[in-house]
Amino acid sequence: MNMTIVEKILSRASGRSNLKPGDVVEPAIDLAMSHENGALVINQFLQIFEGTPLDPKVWDASKIAIIFDHRVPAESSKTASNQKKIREFVNRQFIDKFHDIRGDVGGICHQILPESGYVRPGCVVVGTDSHTTSHGALGAFSFGIGATEMASVWALGKALNVEVPPTIKVNVTGAFPTFVGPKDFILHLIGKISAQGANFRVIEYHGETIRDMTTSGRLVICNMSVEAGATSGIVPPDEETIRYLREEAGVQDSLDMVVPDAGANYDEVINIDVSKLEPQIACPHTVDNIKGIKDVSGTKIDQVVIGSCTNGRLDDLEMAARVIRGKKIARNIRMLVFPASGRIYSQALGKGLIGDFMTAGAVVMNPGCGPCLGIHEGALGDGEVALSTTNRNFKGRMGNPTAEVYLCSPVVAAASAVAGVITDPRKGVN
């Protein structure tokens, strides 16, 4: 039987052949990722062992990754105590893939996993974070779960009762116009199919545009696939995947290039040509409230955020710095920049990008989730408007239910910071 890439991965991980959507499997897990919510996972994990004669030991410490990113450094004693509890657990259980609050190996989980070479094609990855969909960029089946489900994975090494999801095939063709890229494509797709258009399904990305896209761009589209409700986004691994893993992630061992079969059964096929796409903006308060930039340009903004697991990578910072270099951000605008990892921060420093941002008036923060989810730095005032390269604009998302968040690409964010209003970067910035 011809299978989609996820059917194939699940088939191998569960030792079952000829899987079809709706079949229930128990895939072995290759990587189980948590961040600060690991504190809750630990609590649930210990409960599983309560009343049993068994020692509460994780099934395989080498397959667990814990990355601190949501509140770094801790904003409160409560968070600091949660982080301390996790640190103690990590030491007790001998978990090596632990990324503490550090300038060298710290950063956002969805950047640390790929750049550390923890994710490979054909793997099954779960994470207690909805944007775990990101790692489909490397050809893994990677999806978000809750803390109790993660506790179950820590105990058993497999995910229980996983239903094989149907797959949507998205064919992307055409070359991106200047100042238009992966973020605009994924916002366009979410607008087209809606915030629940891919609920309980996987999106498999194909086509020349995806083939020519770097892993950084693929991470953007897989990251935001969850905003259309998708269980995961996935790009079949190819030459670029190998290049990234070998050159950027330092992976030396052999790779298992699982690709979909020709003639696999797709639930739906969507074709998108990006050659005439304009910069896309997600307007408040849902990610599928998408408009072309001309419909919102001129909108007054108070805060610009560049960063997050969606758009805090080196190419994002380079694009933004190119627009802003030698200019000043507008009066009464705050611009916050969050490199996605310590490594990216260092690279940006080496290329002079950090200086470009600072000279323009931006504040460069330490790697982490920052203001994206309104729990740490960069909260919004009453009625304020943010333009952000992050992935969610839900009411209250940046810490204030009376504020508004617009989502865009790094280049739109940078051009708008200079102008003080939402600005089309193609029109030039004065």
Partner: protein, 171 residues
């Protein structure tokens, strides 16, 4: 008979159910105070529920979309409310099953605040309006976990079974 304490629209995110700034609070026994914290009216209605109440939150499509935070489920579970939604986002649905929050999928459901509902396995009868709505069964993979009383006890049973199998193989 259950009563609708409030209704919400489509795409209600976990940020609305449990705002991010309370995420440092993780333990299920501590999360209920922050349910719908950005809506003081809804929050107050939940906090004022008396023991053994039968209360329902009626939701539209894609309830619980967004973040995987389990607090969004434990905060509602703590109030023992029932969720009747047209559809529910995947992670929220799984978290609800895992923690034992009662969720009912009724794709055509219509109800207003204060309506009285009679909920059975296959339909929601709105006794205030006299209308009845079909209930969509939960995915089959989830029903086993509900029957086991949640994922903690389901996993505990599996773990003991797996380990005794391993032991018997060694012997």
């Amino acid at each position: 008979m259950a009563k609708v304490i409030f209704t919400v629209g489509d795409d209600i995110s976990t940020d609305i159910i449990y705002p991010g700034r309370y995420m440092a609070t993780v333990l299920p026994e501590e999360t209920p105070q922050f349910a719908f914290a950005d809506n003081p009216d809804f929050n107050a209605r939940l906090l004022s529920l008396k023991k053994n109440h039968q209360s329902v939150i009626v939701a539209g499509e894609n309830f619980g979309c967004g973040s995987s935070r389990e607090q969004a489920v434990s905060t509602l579970k703590g109030h023992e409310v029932i969720i009747v939604a047209k559809s529910i986002a995947r992670i929220f649905l799984q978290n609800s099953v895992n923690l034992g929050l009662k969720i009912i999928l009724a794709p055509d459901n219509e109800a207003s605040e204060d309506d009285e509902l009679e909920i059975s396995q296959d339909r929601v009868l709105n006794t205030t309006t006299g209308k009845s709505f079909q209930v969509e069964p939960l995915p089959k993979s989830r029903r086993e976990i509900i029957e086991a009383g949640g994922l903690i006890s389901y996993t505990r049973a599996r773990l003991l079974k797996d380990r005794s199998l391993q032991l018997s193989e060694i012997e």
